[in-house]
Amino acid sequence: MKENETLKINPLPSKTWYWLHLNDTAVKWNGDVQPCMVTTEEPEQVSEAGLDIKEMTTGVGTEADALFTDENLPVLQFTAKAEDGERIIRLDISGEDKENTAGTVYIAAEENAHVTVIEKFTSGKKAQSDLAFRTKLYAKKNSTIRLIQINMLDEGQRLLNAVGSVCGETAKLDVLQMFIGRGDVYNGIQTELEGDQSELHTEIGYIGQKQQTLDMNLVVNHWGKKTNCDIQVDGTLKDAAKKVFRGSIDFKRGSSGSKGAETENVLLLGDDVENKTIPLILCAEEDVDGSHGATIGELDEETLFYFAARGIDQETAEDIMTKAKLEVLYHHIQDEETERIVADQLTKVMSNDSQ
């Protein structure tokens, strides 16, 4: 891959009118990547038979794969086993002092295993830098993987976050993402619900400020019978922030008895914000139940009146609501150390939001 090549990322599974500029996103990204720094207290642990790495596509799309091919890039591999109990793998990921970095982690949960993976993307030393990170998850029969991703990169630091996942029979994947940094984020998650009764639950919270760009693509493919997914995306856009959310639920033929639901709430607080949303339901199976809903706008008058009646002005009310949306999410993290870090970061971001 060449330097500063234009990548088409976050592709929509089914195209629509080009003039909407939603079929994918073109980004310039330097293909000359160096290893990112991944800090963890967990020793890499791969099963005796070796890690069962399945082929899987990430939500960012195949063009971005070129960023992860260099042999010198870190590739961490973990296997969680049932006998490990409730395992937590914490990864701190940073570009350190480099301008353009990348890395990959593979995580497999063996049958009946339960593992929580916490990935924190923290600021490097370079004011202008790019970090591309790929996470591939394979949840085998009756296993559970919780993926928690916290983005805290600073202004001028871009994150390309590529997640691919496969769930076997009765396996469950929980994804919680909080984008509470100040840099641009390109985020793509693709999940294959292959096994019968497998599940995906996704919660995403974000705040976009100044000139920040948040570009997201979620794709859930229902293959197995009685599979279930729900996607909840909740965020606030201020100043001149731009956000794109693509959410696709694809019921493949044979996925009878499956359910999929996605909801998105966007609070618009800036005079120059741009919000694009495209929630797809693709359906080739009769016996399914799919739904999506979106509400986009400013705080309603009833809410503002509630605050005003208590002596709280509109600006403060908006801050309270913005923070409340995100606080709901970090209480779902269920890891004290991470919750504390998120709370601190949120305070930092909110206090500087108008600078």
Binding site: W17, P279, C283
Partner: protein
């Protein structure tokens, strides 16, 4: 294993009869500058229109075939005849229309509808209108309802030139350019300031010739404070060769005016329906679309509303029924430009027997559209697993003072609902028919009574099938 009832396809026998193409004039098949010039000459176009056609053809040749919708690989423009003129001039009395053509429209119930419930009727057969009439009392109000060709050269020539393909430009997409190059037929309507047309006008488009295209242009201008309901109907017999419909509808809704545009589309299943409809709405104006899509092999149909004036409104109510061999890509588009504008899109779709139904929409709220409100609701019913149903709704919001809501659902007929109705004495067949009729109720109640009854009867008839 769940027991299922069989839902039959829509019975098209009332539309699927053919007339011989006696003494009709047919232009050579294909699309070249020479053919376009010949067509222009045949139609006695003003000079500007001939240039416009040739420029549109150039745009058509430069534009790519869309790759985001249903496949149109089966459409070969080299084999499509873009102009077929029936062997008659336009008449103002049914009795003067040639017998075979008159029979066609009588079988479709058009003269009867005119007598009972319409203020005026236009009937197009292949590429030209064969009948046009408007009630005297409506004409006396100053309402103009005429064929596009007459309008182009007559008293309203300047008005037509000012508005023709200004809303839908040939550069919009490949088939808008095609329309610009080879359009013929269609209606021109002008409703003067403050005039309310109490009963609807209707244009009916019949494509009889095999392997032909129909490219009618409908231009409606509803002036300040005026009110109109316009109904459009279309049908064709089925042939083994592809037919093409690439019509264009341009609607100008003036200040505080209201226009309701209803369409029952019943093209045959060899038809590629690549139609473009757009409305520009001024301050306080309202555009209401009612759209039923039942026919065609492939459809691309998304009426667009541009809410330019403050306090302007748009409502879209639509139903799509995709059966065997059909890939119907339908929906709506709205752009909010003015302050306090509002839009409401409500659609239903039914897919069965391998049919593909796609709901596609866009809601764009521009930066200056303060206090814009938009609500989109789409519901899809899958009647079997051979079929497919997709929803692709997009929203692009660029003002914080907007309020935009969207909801969509895809599912099958609920077993509980069927059981509930059966426990009250209905057969399974009747229960399912009742549920589907209820599902389509939002559209039928927006149609004039005669059309609503026809639509409900169609659905009810088709739900009568074997169980197993």
């Amino acid at each position: 294993m769940k027991e299922k009832s069989q839902v039959e396809d829509i019975d098209r026998s009332i539309y699927d009869f053919k007339d011989d193409e006696k003494d009709a004039y047919r232009i050579k098949a294909g699309l070249t500058p020479e053919i376009v010039q010949k067509l222009s000459k045949e139609k006695h176009d003003p000079a500007w229109m001939e240039l416009f056609r040739l420029h549109s053809l150039q745009i058509y040749n430069e534009m790519a075939v869309p790759d985001w919708g249903p496949s149109i690989e089966g459409l070969n423009m080299d084999q499509i005849v873009t102009y077929v003129r029936p062997n008659t001039k336009m008449k103002a009395k049914w009795s003067d229309v040639p017998e075979d053509i008159k029979n066609t429209f009588e079988r479709l119930g058009i003269p009867e509808a005119e007598r009972k419930s319409l203020a005026g009727v236009g009937a197009q057969y292949d590429s030209e209108l064969v009948y046009h009439n408007v009630r005297e009392e409506v004409a006396a109000q100053g309402v103009v309802y005429t064929d596009m060709e007459s309008a182009l050269t007559g008293e309203y020539a300047d008005m037509v030139k000012k508005h023709f393909m200004k809303l839908v430009k040939p550069t919009d997409h490949k088939f808008a350019a095609l329309h610009g190059a080879v359009w013929s037929g269609g209606s021109f309507v002008y409703v003067p300031k403050g005039v309310s047309v109490e009963i609807p006008l209707q244009s009916y488009f019949r494509l009889n010739a095999p392997g032909a295209g129909q490219f009618e242009h409908t231009l409606i201008i509803v002036d300040e404070g005026a009110d109109l309901h316009f109904i459009e109907g279309c049908s064709a017999p089925k042939y083994n060769v592809a037919n093409l419909h690439a019509g264009c509808v341009e609607l100008f809704v003036g200040k505080n005016a209201r226009l309701r545009y209803s369409t029952i589309e019943n093209w045959s299943k060899n038809m590629y329906n690549l139609n473009t409809k757009r409305a520009l709405v001024e301050e306080g104006g309202t555009i209401e679309w009612v759209s039923g899509s039942f026919g065609s092999h492939v459809s691309y149909l998304y009426p667009m509303s541009i809410l330019k004036g403050r306090d302007s409104k748009m409502e879209f109510t639509g139903i799509t029924f995709a059966g065997k061999g059909q890939n119907l890509d339908t929906g709506a588009k709205v752009v909010h430009i003015g302050e306090n504008t509002s839009s409401y899109i409500n659609t239903k779709s039914i897919s069965k027997d391998g049919g593909i139904s796609t709901f596609r929409s866009s809601v764009v709220v521009n930066k200056g559209a303060e206090n814009a409100k938009s609500s989109v609701s789409c519901q899809s019913l899958m009647l079997d697993s051979e079929s497919r149903s997709d929803t692709i709704p997009a929203m692009d919001i660029r003002t914080k003072n907007a309020n935009v809501g969207h909801e969509a659902q895809i599912g099958s007929i609920s077993d509980e609902a069927v059981f509930y109705l059966m426990s009250r004495g209905m057969s399974e067949e009747d229960a399912r028919a009742c549920i589907v009729s209820g599902f389509a109720d939002n559209v039928s109640k927006e149609l004039p009574l005669e059309y609503a009854l026809e639509m409900n009867n169609l659905i009810r008839l088709e739900m009568k099938g074997s169980i197993g």
